[in-house]
């Protein structure tokens, strides 16, 4: 169980047609084990975000095989994919995305509403704990649109963790953070992998950040060039 594979990509290819065919991902294959802390680096436009959208099950328009927690995601319905995404995957976007109509803590609780495993009070205290870990518990009841970029990003990270997913994917989670807060995020992720045995997959431009992770996957022009 300790070293079981959580995510496996086999020969993933992705092309855009507008109007000429551009191959963005070419035969990408790799495996992530439980508790692994991996980062994806690469030039801008090398296909990092595209890969992450595919791995997060949001983009289903690709060829190749994708298994999450041993389940082949091919032929799964939109509803089933949504349920998998909700329960097993946490996602932090390249540009922080929150619901402006809600407070920070409601935003964190949002995936929990869908999962509906614990009571609302439990969910709220859990959300509060995550916000506290990220140092923004005092902002819990502030409306999302009133937060700064970095604060939003940390709320988004808390949201990705709320359902205890197997794997958390982040697209430049520290892009808006100063080095001190980037360190906090790094350490939270590290703790998640080490004590909670979660798998982290982080796309980053921050090479120092990447160096500290256990594994670096480098993409160039849609191919893995270094592991």
């Amino acid at each position: 169980m300790e070293n079981s594979t959580v995510l496996e990509a086999r020969g993933i290819c992705k092309s855009f047609y507008n109007p000429v065919k551009i191959d963005v991902l070419k035969d990408v294959s790799f495996k992530l084990k439980r508790g692994e802390y991996a980062s994806i680096i690469g030039r801008s436009g090398s296909g990092k975000s595209t890969l992450l959208y595919i791995l997060s099950t949001m983009d289903t328009d690709f060829t190749g095989k994708l298994l999450i927690d041993g389940i082949d995601l091919h032929y799964k319905s939109e509803k089933e994919l949504a349920a998998i995404r909700n329960a097993k995957i946490g996602f932090v976007f390249q540009f922080h995305y929150l619901l402006n109509e809600f407070t920070a803590i409601r935003n964190v609780m949002l995936p929990g509403f869908k999962l509906n495993k614990v009571s609302e009070e439990e969910l709220e205290s859990k959300a509060y704990e995550y916000l506290k870990d990220l140092g923004i518990e005092n902002l819990a009841h502030k409306m999302a649109y009133k937060l700064s970029g970095g604060e939003k990003q940390r709320v988004a990270i808390a949201r990705a963790m709320i359902n205890d997913p197997l794997i958390i994917m982040c697209d430049e989670p520290t892009g808006n953070l100063d080095s001190k807060n980037a360190d906090i995020v790094f350490n939270i992720f590290k703790e998640l992998t080490e004590t909670f045995n979660k798998t982290l997959l982080v796309v980053t431009h921050d090479l120092i950040f990447a160096e500290k992770t256990g594994r670096i996957i480098e993409l160039d022009d849609g191919r893995i060039i270094r592991e």
């Binding site: 390249q94 995305y97 949002l110």
Partner: protein, 419 residues
Amino acid sequence: MKQKHLIEIAVALMLARWKQTLVATIGVTFSIALFISLLGFMEGLNQLLDGLVLNRTPHIRLFNDIQPSKIQPIDLSEQYQNYHNFISSVKPVNTRKEIYNAQQIIHKLKNDKRVFGVAPKITAQVFYNLGNIDLNGIINGVDAEKEAKLFAFSDYVIKGNYRELETISNSIILGQGAADVMNAKIGDIITVTTTEGEQFSLKVIGFFQSGMAEIDKIQSFASLTTTQKLLGEDSNYISDIQIKLKDLNKAPALAIEFEDFFKINAEDIQTANAQFETGSGVRSIISYAVGITLLIVSGFGIYNILNMLIYEKMDTIAILKATGYAGNDVKKIFISISLSIGVAGALAGVFFGILLSAIIDAIPFSSPSIPNVTTYPIDYGIQYYLIAIIFAMVTTFLAGWMPAKKASKVDPVLIIRGK
């Protein structure tokens, strides 16, 4: 997934765009309120106008028509049996207006389950004497009590007590028009001359107004006995039997049946007043068409606002989907927005509909032809409320369905990348 949380999201989205939501709700409110009051008013008016005629007209009238005999002497002659005989200017002989066995017929009809009530009537041709001038008149001999019960007689007696017809002998209720010409007041004694040339004195105990000037100038009412005396007939003399049925629509069929059974002429109300049914029907159709158009237009309002909301809240939809909400959940959110607008609009619409109806109901309206009506008529029938609510629910659901479906199909990757 708890409904509660979907609704929480729906409410948050509505509050974020509360002005537009309010406008859409007002649209629904407006259309339902108008639908209810328009139809209530129209139907009230229909009932009033129909009532004008239908309430005081017998559903079936039995009488003896004065007609020449269908069999003429030449038809009986053996010599001309197989000929076509043409006789011009045939005159009726010896035909009486009296209905034979009137009491038996009335008795038989009273025991008929389809009949609501029966009232006998006598019409007498007279002249009202006004000094040297004689005015044409018709005195209707009626059973005042039955006339009131079956044909709303009391509504049209605008002065005096109709019951006195039975208690005061030789009394008359004059048509308002005739009374005006004769300058008669209650308590006055007027004289009339019958077609036989006899003069009678009658005491005026009330006035009658039907609203149709031609009728009010000529017609008057007296008791059966008084009229029989006037005509010099015995107390069995009846010239008309008026029948009110339980179901108005059966009148034509029953008229034919009675005609055969009693060997008498029978006329049903539909034949006598064909134009009224058509008028009411057309008015109803027009008001339903206008009302339903209003409801549909309010549906378009909801459709527009939901479309706009979805366009503005693409990010929200994308986040919901990215964090694991299925297309179906998103659809539910937007349909509940649409239905909330519909329900809130319907409730407010019913409230304002009743209010508007009450206002119309209080506007003074008087017409000489409808003496007992003082304000505009409104029908508070529950059916208009039900139709309006059901129709509003269906339109809001459909108006919400299409945008909601669109929202459920939003591709989160496209939105997230678009930033």
